[in-house]
Symmetry: C3
Subunit: 310 residues, 3 copies
């Protein structure tokens, strides 16, 4: 199971910024290419007041700051140069995190989708959409949000594929700003299957692929959850990807690169479950030879040895 | 708004030490010089039992450890070599943090000021004093402490300037050792103005410059708070500096270098408010090309591009 | 007081993994050698489901994962190459941390000791055992556990020495996953002496050396606690080592390399107390020139200057 996609986390919730310029990004795309990555996914085009491209709409509606660099333009250019498929991640107003209400996400992204497709849709690297709302279980309104936005994305872009990457409500599903690493009331496999069947059934025509984050459950639970995820995705006609997290959720420093052995366990579980594709959150901080976290470069080397051994 | 000063944080509350020797410090001063820094401010000459110079007084009174290196001597030597203005930060006994009472800070620093001026006052680089008590709002006794110590510093040194760097009691004013990033009961602009007007009025003859830390409020609040700070400083005859923090308060890792876009927002706000000078906390961990945090070197590069674009 | 031993923390509770391969480990042993390290101690051979060698017993009994590399084999090989004494750390099932009950640790390690001695006991570098249960005070069952396992280790291996490394229940004894740095109810010197006398008396025939972790008390408390530890060890006929922690417990980032001045204070206190040997937790993250934490390389340099000044 090779990792063939990565998120680009330049508007981050919780991972400190590396302050790279265009040169470093160009080099990073070449490192990605080197290990077979063909897909890059902008994790979100904006979060609260910080945005990746100079969106007139978002600056007016949410008082967003004019960004120093047009990252969407830069990433599309690099995707063209390196032959990558670029997925555009929608805007995250922060309202959902504060209130649990997805209304603002739907309302704002209706405009963002139009604006972005007009400005950047001509790029041959623009190959898909990422519905960036990170939900779990039966979040109130999530089906409607995914369906509404997914349909709009597809209809404006001649059916380009749409992706979601939710989290499993497992024992490691704790807030990044909490000092805890685990919690008691994790979801059971049966509940997970019941609730996600309902969601996938509701969004199946608007969403093409689901990539569950793989870091919220314990390693020995991977096989069962992955089997269920694949069966559900098959039943409702979605592609089943894995979002193989390359940061370590088990350590008090939040967050540094994962131990290779753990990544291997997760990729092997996805392979056994017959998953369609593996992407990661994310290459540039946690797997790149030029990451500020030097453990990442060693992970890159260990991973290369691993895929060369196939 | 160029950054022309930096703190030197060798006796740290919360930033891990880099274990540099004289060679690394010499190189760091040259990096500072390269981007136009002309002022270095020793953040404190001691904290509880750790001290920067072999102070007989502090070793006797507070049981401080004999330091392996005389950092005051070293930093003064490097300041002479690189043409920097050195500000000496007073001693922090820790008592104020434990009890809220500033009496010990006043009592100990009366002796420290004498001792230091006798030992190091001859250096042509010794150009000012930093009253290191980090207070906010109307801390009990803060006016008396700043006035007493400021007057003593100035009178012993033929009126060398004195600096304070308080924090705004904003939404990000949480303890470094807390896992939280924000809190609910932030100060209002009106309260801030009322309380700080009282303080500045009380210390105006003993303190020459106030450099509010810029990291405790949200980016969209900068303009209002900075305008009020400048108006207050003007009214009471103090120089208005900004302490542009170069570490990121929004992330669960406490603390790594800030995203350049955030630093730019803060510097732009200070420029618009007509601030007199920008200093930073601090160059060597968060902006230096040789920092252990590699993000810092990239911040250095982004910042250089920024000031070259003026 | 030179550091002549280090733990090898490849199955970690709380320190993120560096993802080194054999080349990096070979280089690290050469760095260790360079400063006089002659002893390496595998901190544990497994923790819950992660293990260092392909133990049939542990994979069956605890569902442990087959490790990608046989680290025991690799570390023994490197120990032979560099002339190091290798101590084997027992298995930590995690049950003790969850329940306070040491029964599972005793039961599992009876098998582990046999298995390991059969597989690796022939190596000339296999020079001792580390009883890895990290206890403090009068943990229920700790005397029995140390005695039972220590006796088994010694009897199977013709009396190879056994080591423990407990913590002092001091003011910094807080969980790594807690955001706090200190606590109120620290142990008194008298309680420490009383409770540890009882433990050392109970284990004296099964344990050869005790290396108290030196990071849980304040620096000015070191002298008193070290004096008591040495007197107790002498009384009951154990070697008294110090486990000089090279990470900093005083900072909100958990954990980065320690400030050299602090390490020096701890080593000086051990020297004054007449300790027999200093080991560290641990070289590869916190003192190595190739550590992902660049502060570690500078600590290596400062430490080298220090021991060259003797």
């Amino acid at each position: 199971m090779k990792i063939t996609g990565t998120f680009l986390d330049e508007i981050s919730h919780d991972i400190p910024h590396q302050n790279w310029g265009r040169d470093e990004w160009d080099k990073d795309f070449s490192y990605m290419k080197q290990i077979g990555i063909d897909t890059v996914i902008l994790i979100r085009s904006g979060y609260r007041r910080f945005i990746t491209y100079p969106s007139k709409f978002l600056m007016e509606r949410h008082g967003c700051y004019h960004p120093p660099v047009d990252l969407v333009d830069m990433f599309l250019g690099l995707s063209e140069k390196y032959g990558m498929n670029f997925y555009f991640g929608l805007y995250d107003s922060g309202k959902y995190w504060d209130t649990g209400d997805l209304t603002e996400e739907i309302d704002s992204n209706r405009y963002v989708i139009d604006e972005v497709w007009n400005q950047y849709g001509h790029s041959p690297a623009f190959k898909g959409w990422y519905l960036c709302m990170e939900i779990s279980r039966r979040t109130k309104g999530s089906i409607e949000a995914f369906r509404t936005l997914g349909e709009q994305c597809k209809s404006i872009s001649n059916g380009l594929p749409t992706l979601i990457s939710p989290w499993i409500d497992g024992k490691k599903a704790v807030l990044a700003a909490s000092s805890a690493l685990t919690r008691e009331d994790a979801i059971s496999l049966a509940e997970h299957e019941k609730e996600w069947s309902e969601i996938l059934d509701g969004i199946k025509d608007a969403v093409d692929a689901v990539a569950f984050q793989d870091g919220h459950i314990d390693y020995h639970e991977l096989e069962d959850f992955f089997r269920v995820n694949k069966a559900m995705a098959d039943k409702y006609g979605l592609k089943c990807w894995t979002n193989a997290e390359t940061f370590d959720r088990d350590m008090p420093i939040k967050f540094l690169p994962i131990k290779f052995e753990k990544l291997r366990l997760k990729l092997e579980a996805a392979r056994k479950a017959g998953y369609d594709k593996a992407i990661t959150f994310e290459f540039s901080h946690f797997m790149s030879p030029q990451s500020a976290y030097l453990q990442a470069g060693h992970l890159f080397n260990r991973y290369k040895e691993y895929i060369q051994s196939f």
